[in-house]
């Protein structure tokens, strides 16, 4: 099962190295990782997607908790949280395929943010399903490059993550 760990950390040098080092050392794989400052500049939020049975996840969170700079870890429940990812897709476009691509982009409510003679850059935000969806529809046109931010997530409702 996929887990989304939302990890609140002190915004200190080396925190990210500690986290990624811990994952590598303990043999846990990271599917995606996103990090950024929070409403409090002293704190950062690291969102980590991991694949694992329940047992390893428990070890992952316990080991993460041992890092002194880690303040709080939430294993987000997909039903009570929202997740998003931002992706930039550079896709081949010819005069014949351009309008077809634009249609796909519209269906997914994505945006075209750059145009060249032979390529388009598409910006899309959404859940993993939406992103995989648009990527698979654009793939036949020829993907030049795909850049993803990694998933971020927040819990629904009044409660803080």
């Amino acid at each position: 099962m996929k887990h989304t760990l939302s990890v609140l950390v002190e915004n200190k040098p080396g925190v990210l190295t500690r986290i990624s080092g811990l994952f590598a050392r303990r043999g846990f794989n990271i599917d995606s990782l996103a990090v950024g400052e929070t409403e409090d500049p002293a704190l950062s939020r690291v969102t980590i997607s991991v694949d694992g049975q329940d047992q390893p996840i428990e070890q992952v969170t316990k080991q993460l908790h041992k890092l002194i700079n880690v303040i709080k870890i939430t294993d987000l429940d997909p039903n009570s949280s929202v997740t998003r990812e931002l992706v930039l897709i550079k896709v081949h476009a010819t005069s014949e395929t351009r309008s077809e691509i634009i249609q796909v982009v519209e269906i997914f409510r994505a945006k075209i943010i750059d145009v060249s003679a032979s390529t388009l850059i598409v910006e899309v935000t959404g859940t993993k399903d939406k992103i995989e969806g648009i990527i698979s529809l654009l793939r036949p046109f020829g993907l030049v490059e795909v850049v993803r931010t990694g998933k971020i997530a927040i819990s629904r409702g009044r409660k803080r993550t």
Partner: protein
Amino acid sequence: MKVAAKVMMEIFKNEGVEVVFGVPGGSVMPLYDALMDADLLNVLTRHEQGAVHAADGYARASGKVGVCIATSGPGATNLVTGIANAYMDSVPMVAITGQVRRPVVGTDAFQEADTFGITLPVVKHSYLVTDEHELPRILHEAFYLARTGRPGPVLVDLPGDVATALIDYDPDNPPEPNLPGYKPTVKGHPRQIKEAARALAEAEKPMIYAGGGIIIAEASDELRELAAYAHIPVTTTLNGKGLFPEDDALSLGMLGMHGTRYANYAMTNCDLIFAVGVRFDDRATGKVDTFAPDAKIIHVDVDPAEIAKNLAVDIPIVGDAKWVLRSLIEELRKLEPSPERHVPWMRQVEDWKQAHPLPLREDPDGEIMPEFVIQKLWEVTRGEAIVTTEVGQNQMWAAQYWLAKHPRRFISSGGLGTMGYGFPAAMGAKLARPDLTVVDIAGDGSFQMTSQELATCVSYGIPVKVAILNNRYLGMVRQWQELFYEKRYASTCIECQPDFVKLAEAYGAQGFRATRPDEVEEVLRIALASDAPALMDFRIKREANVWPMVPAGSAISDMLGGGEA
């Protein structure tokens, strides 16, 4: 405003530092200059590895934080083994390393190494000081982190220009730690403790499996009270030796790969394990699938990540061992368990003890057997000495035959198994406990890894004793080769060795040698009586093995050798 290096001395004083170990160099010269006027003992070792192990031995013998210092680059990298060693065995330590000046960090400057990065996986926490005004808080935090919760080494990497900067510090009003993510749990959950008490009261074949955490928590008295009150046999790990007197009738000695047969049989057949301050290391449990198959397991540990790490647990209790034991004993007393319940079990355990004692071998060729030396050493010191060990057969013989009576008096590199640890650790231990005899039970191979510290012992008059069980082999590896590699002794025969007696004398220490059993006691008496550092070269039976033994990956009840019925 004061020079940061001087402030560090005030912080050392505030933190109760009595001694620091280290080797100077360019980036820590301001620190060494300040040390000259500081009110503490500054021990110059001959190698940084000696410094870090000495700080470790000092910490284990005293319960205080050990401090070591090294310069940037090679000085810092020389500390790494010792930091990893302290990390594995949860030893409170602050390691201070010099770093190149801030403006040149990251430029491959002279003697620059990424000490922060290199040590990251083997520290409890670490700091690279980038703002001199943060230094007081960081250094206080380092000590606080090192000694609280599950102790461990904390590294402070200090650029040379930070040490000479001017900062404010009021020793009467030191900065508070600012660690929002660090709150070790001391108090165990009351409901879990009640449940544990009930399980203990109901058990018919209970065992206590206790380790390093009891010594760290200073909870030996509580553990003894529990064992005596509830009539439960006690086995300890290597790191737990001494937490329970091994000459007590309830003691089964050490369990595990080289544990006693009776401890391993009892663990395999019991119906309840009260595990406290232990981390279910594979050397202790053997193959986990067959470890105590019928037992319910209670696990008390201050580190939640240790619980259910290697093995499922029935009653987990996160908390400080001393706190948990106190309230557990209270709960148990309310239940008034009947001592009758354990009578058949205690009889069974006693039968195992009688049937499978540790072997006391007599050599047909009249050579010295290692256990004979250890037993004589115990007799001569009445078991009151602090024993440190090197790594290998010497360590396991010490674990088996030295009946440790007190906590903090059996000091060994358990988790990392670092050859060369025992001698510098003994130096640190002796400085912590000058009132006690301190003996490093050594192997000839291990001793050669840090023997240069003889110079430190002589120069500071630290009268440590070294008892080399000299088999002229890397004996433990040779034993495995004998058993599992058809006696192909690849790189384990180390016949070319210095004359250890002359080596000791060359440094200005005393050296003695015994080649026959009847010389052992006299050598011990003379060497221990002197107030100088002394080395004893015991020429033991070269191919003596450590028995019993559990082959790696086997059940702990499947033991080879030693005391078969």
